[in-house]
């Protein structure tokens, strides 16, 4: 043990002199194109940002290649965004085009600034997670390939945040995204009576169930699942290896839409259920990709400038949303969990 409890590297050590000189003294910024920003300080000095989406999962050699570019064009300074995009911090304007050319040569396209899709927030999926209902990186690749024009070009009325969580634990917290893909299970877990008392803390398993579908079965030193009450969230499995919930025939993805975290114009909103279930179709998930494409295309065409996805739906109404997208509205769409009643429409004023 060398040393502990010392914390991260100091951020000021990771900043160029220009950044430090103008720290907290920025005046305004401009979006130069979908991959480039300029921030102008009160001193008049300028800092250019070239942004490019990364696949989040990267080998050290790729990071080294980014470091090489940063050394060549940015004095060694760059950063990442909260949504897995790299941002090269360029001080000499003349470096922008050559940097972009080298990024292209590496297979990276600048984009994601302004009224675009920035990058798809996601987590581990089948690459590393023990609870996923869907993969993450494969779906992200498939979707982003399909909607790449919306990443590269500013074709949208406002920015669109795409996100993916491979199960309801939502490690990427996608519940406030314009379009969110969430992995879901559809059948209750199977209890391994032999293993459960050895591997699990039964009171915690019982307490883990949001719908109280689990009760102890003391005779068997196990638990019993009331399958009628179970809505397959998988939290019991998170607590207990002896209650697996995977079912490749039934696991799949749900799509939620209309959330946002920014408070601009309208306060932050949760995403709401648009599509309850699309099966896993590795390696490229064609149905899921097609549906996401449809959802984005309809919004791009119908929304007014400056309207986020959720603001667009607020204006036209959910009745119209299901009409223009052609998506079915089912009993699954109607809330039946603990905060359901405030979501019901207690008025006769609605669109046909």
């Amino acid at each position: 043990m060398v040393k502990t409890d010392f914390g991260p590297p100091k951020y000021l050590d990771m900043m160029s002199d220009l950044c430090k000189r103008n720290y907290g003294k920025w005046k305004y910024h401009e979006v130069l194109d979908t991959g480039t920003l300029v921030h102008v300080a009160e001193s008049g000095e300028k800092l250019y940002t070239v942004r490019a989406a990364t696949p989040r999962l990267m080998h050290v050699d790729t990071l080294r290649a980014f470091c090489d570019l940063a050394d060549k064009y940015c004095g060694g300074f760059f950063r990442f965004t909260s949504r897995h995009s790299i941002e090269f911090l360029v001080e000499d304007e003349a470096n922008i085009e050559p940097l972009k050319a080298e990024l292209h040569a590496m297979g990276y396209t600048p984009g994601g600034v302004g009224n675009t899709i920035s990058n798809m927030l996601h987590t581990q999926g089948w690459i590393h997670c023990h609870t996923p209902a869907i993969d993450a990186s494969g779906i992200v690749k498939s979707v982003m390939d399909e909607v790449f024009e919306y990443y590269k070009e500013a074709k949208l009325p406002a920015r669109l945040r795409l996100a993916l969580a491979c199960c309801l634990n939502m490690c990427g917290a996608v519940h406030c995204s314009d379009v969110a893909i969430v992995g879901v299970h559809r059948v209750p877990p199977k209890v391994d009576d032999e293993k459960i008392s050895k591997m699990c803390e039964i009171p915690n398993v019982v307490a883990a169930c949001p719908t109280r579908a689990i009760r102890p079965e003391p005779a068997k030193k196990s638990v019993v699942v009331n399958e009628e009450r179970c809505m397959y969230c998988g939290n019991c499995y998170t607590m207990c290896p002896a209650m697996p919930i995977f079912d490749p025939k039934n696991d799949g993805a749900a799509i939620f839409v209309g959330g946002k975290v920014s408070d601009a114009r309208h306060p932050a909103m949760f995403s709401k259920l648009a599509v309850p279930y699309i099966p896993n179709e590795p390696p490229r998930w064609p149905t899921l990709v097609k549906t996401v494409r449809l959802l984005i295309d309809v919004y791009a065409k119908d929304a007014k400038e400056g309207e986020r996805y959720g603001e667009w739906i607020n204006r036209i109404g959910w009745e119209k949303f299901f009409k223009v997208t052609g998506l079915p509205f089912t009993d699954k769409h109607i809330d039946d969990y603990i905060f359901s009643v405030p979501t019901f429409r207690s008025t006769a004023t609605f669109k046909w």
Binding site: K198, M199, E201, N204, T238
Partner: protein, 105 residues
């Protein structure tokens, strides 16, 4: 599943070294497991906590929360890490024969 041998008896452990059958736990098992968690010798102070954990689990079928563990034993968390360098969950609970606590989420 891997096995450990204590006093000529084979005990099944998982890949993290937690014993799979709580019925098989005894003080010799605890001593064996302690060495795997950087506790060379179990002093009276160690045993107080180990026995507390074992009894608590037997009674309530769950591990106590950290706050309760500290309060009921009159130790602070700092002392726990001094006694059990790998911490209350990985260290003390393992030595006391409790099941593996749940992980990252």
């Amino acid at each position: 599943m891997p096995f450990i041998e204590v006093n000529g008896k084979q005990l099944e452990v998982d890949e993290d070294g937690f014993i799979q059958d709580p019925e098989q736990w005894n003080e010799d098992v605890a001593r064996y497991l302690a060495k795997t968690e950087q506790v060379e010798e179990l002093t009276e102070e160690h045993w107080k906590i180990v026995n507390y954990l074992h009894d608590y689990f037997k009674k309530y079928q769950i591990a106590p929360m950290v706050r309760k563990l500290c309060k009921d034993n009159g130790v602070d968390l700092k002392r726990i890490y001094e006694l059990f360098p790998t911490g209350p969950a990985k260290g003390a609970c393992k030595i006391a024969g409790l099941p593996k606590p749940t992980g990252c989420v």
